[in-house]
């Protein structure tokens, strides 16, 4: 055995450098895949939004903001944007309200069924949203479970309009985004510790005060993350508005699809997409700002740790 063999150290170099040959080779397939199937198509959308649509579905290649101007000056499109945001806000608020108690329960329970209960709460994630939306059609429709039951009980004589309108879309979307919200909340409730609630109680706080002064502030970051997620998902949701909306709920997602495939007006579809992305950007910027403010309460204004 030679001296070198004995001394060969298992120390890896740590100085940062550009992606070496190894890293590049490993990253190449992924980068190619993402360029082809994600980056390039998105650039195409941006490019398309600067074109104009001509007569009879033709596209006039140009670089102008004419299509943007056309869309933004139309009351119809502002209406769609408004309804998109309205739906997003309604769904987000409803989802947070119904998810919070469950998430709080799941985060705090010490039951031995906890694993099962968490699984039950997130199982719907694994089930196609088309199938779940179909379930809601069977519940909310004029011949659906709710109207049949209420009718037979003699509570209503006319069916309640729960489908083919915004109400139905909000109800179904709320359920569809609940598992996302619950998961985001549970993983954001890390600061919640039963001992903190005990400490507050031992200092004289009744249950309601413990909730308001300790539990709520500690769970707010998780709620905020869940809110972002649900809002973003519902801004771009397509299946539920289309199926439950029954062609009467117009949001950006349904309109992008119609413009692209029925009206064949690709520049307008691209402009609507860019507007949707811009909306996303605004929402995420607001979220990051709010998160920073919230986090400062835990780590101090300078964010220093000692």
């Amino acid at each position: 055995m030679t001296a070198e063999a004995v001394a060969a150290p298992a120390v890896r170099p740590v100085r940062p450098r550009g992606p070496g040959r190894h890293a590049l080779a490993l990253l190449a397939p992924g980068i190619v895949a993402l360029l082809l199937t994600y980056a390039m198509p998105l650039v195409w959308v941006l490019r398309m939004s600067l074109n104009e649509s001509g007569e009879g579905g033709l596209i006039r290649q140009t670089v102008s903001f004419a299509t943007f101007a056309e869309v933004l000056s139309s009351a119809h499109w502002w209406n769609v944007i408004g309804q998109t945001v309205e739906l997003g806000v309604l769904v987000t608020v409803c989802t947070l309200v119904v998810s919070y108690p469950l998430a709080l329960f799941l985060a705090r329970t010490t039951s031995r069924w906890r694993g099962l209960l968490v699984a039950l709460a997130v199982t719907p994630l694994l089930i196609s949203s088309v199938a779940r939306t179909f379930g809601w059609m069977a519940i909310l429709g004029n011949q659906g479970l709710v109207n049949k039951t209420l009718g037979e009980l003699g509570i209503i004589s006319e069916p309640l309009q729960l489908a083919n309108n915004l109400t139905g879309v909000v109800i179904a979307s709320t359920e569809i985004y609940m598992p996302f919200a619950i998961l985001a909340m549970i993983s954001g409730f890390g600061r919640l510790d039963p001992e903190l609630e005990h400490a507050a109680a031992s200092l004289g706080a009744p249950r309601r005060t413990v909730f308001r002064r300790v539990v709520l502030p500690l769970t707010l970051p998780g709620v905020l993350t869940a809110a972002l997620m649900v809002f973003v998902l519902s801004l771009s949701g397509y299946v539920t508005p289309r199926l439950i909306g029954g062609g009467r709920v117009f949001v950006l997602a349904t309109e992008i699809y119609d413009q692209a495939t029925t009206a064949l007006d690709w520049p307008v579809a691209a402009v609507l997409s860019v507007l949707l992305l811009a909306l996303f950007g605004v929402v995420i910027a607001v979220y990051l700002r709010a998160q920073k403010v919230l986090e400062a309460r835990f780590t101090g204004p300078q964010g220093a740790r000692s």
């Binding site: 940062p16 070496g20 890293a23 992924g30 379930g135």
Partner: protein, 275 residues
């Protein structure tokens, strides 16, 4: 002195707890309502959707397989999902390896780039892919669908496999090196077995995501190559009968079986989190 005490809880407190439990049960019911309804409907013997169901039959399950577009849809989705999962693994696993085990400048930027498709709404990606695939023309083909699904599945593979790699202790690999294993042998003998379940979940997640993908597929599929979710969506829009319910139940069973198999290997929840 020893005084036996029972029923010490004040009644108001007990009432509060009962109310709380009722709220939780109601919320669970709401959450699971559509799935329960679909399950019950799938056994109805009517040819239209009604509630409550009157008869009990497996007929609707037979209709699923009698329906040409569903049969074709299962085939299209199955093939697309399998090829997509394979390609996503080929693209994603080496990337995850580079991102977790190598240090280089711009690593975090590249990592962010790999995860960024998760932030882009599918409706926009769908349009984008339509714009780029239509002129080639690859819309309404298997390859079009596969390419379209690749962008949204690679990030999940990267994330799942990275998580597995990060929880595998790199010192175990170093220990193998000190015992005389070459770099490749150490990886193959020590790290690979440790992340096997992570690799499996990455592949399964990619498969399920592709199999379930609706919105992007709507844009890039046409009359000939229609994946199952699109076929179902188009069917539901104009008709409602128990066969859709039966199909949904079959799909639920498929996901549950797959997930249970994977969950025994590695937590799927971690990969779905903030997805």
């Amino acid at each position: 002195m020893t005084v036996r005490r029972t029923g010490r809880m004040p009644w108001a407190h007990r009432l509060g707890r009962a109310g709380w439990a009722a709220v939780l049960v109601a919320l669970y019911l709401f959450l699971l309502a559509p799935i329960l309804v679909v399950l019950v409907e799938s056994f109805d013997d009517a040819t239209y959707l009604r509630f409550p169901p009157q008869g009990f039959t497996f007929d609707a399950y037979g209709q699923v397989f009698a329906n040409e577009s569903f049969r074709l849809g299962i085939q299209v989705s199955g093939v697309t999902a399998a090829v997509t999962a394979l390609l996503a693994m080929i693209a994603g696993v080496p990337a995850a390896l580079a991102l977790t085990r190598l240090r280089f400048r711009g690593r975090s930027a590249i990592e962010a780039a790999f995860l960024s498709p998760l932030l882009v709404p599918h409706i926009v990606l769908g349009l984008a892919l339509l714009l780029i695939l239509a002129p080639i023309p690859l819309t309404d083909t298997y390859w079009g669908l596969i390419l379209a699904h690749l962008g949204v599945t690679v990030p999940y593979v990267v994330r799942t496999v990275s998580a597995a790699l990060m929880s595998a202790d790199p010192r175990a690999e170093e220990a193998a090196r000190t015992l005389g294993a070459s770099g490749f042998t150490a990886f193959r003998r020590i790290t690979l077995p440790a992340i096997r379940s992570g690799l499996l979940s990455g592949g399964v997640i990619a498969f399920l995501l592709s199999f379930d993908e609706t919105v992007i597929s709507l844009f890039v599929s046409g009359q000939n190559t229609v994946p199952l979710p699109v076929a179902v969506l188009q069917y539901v829009e104009y008709r409602s009968d128990p066969s859709i319910a039966s199909l949904s139940v079959l799909l639920v069973l498929l996901s549950v079986v797959v997930v249970v198999l994977v969950e025994r290997g590695l937590g799927l929840r971690r990969s779905l989190r903030s997805g």
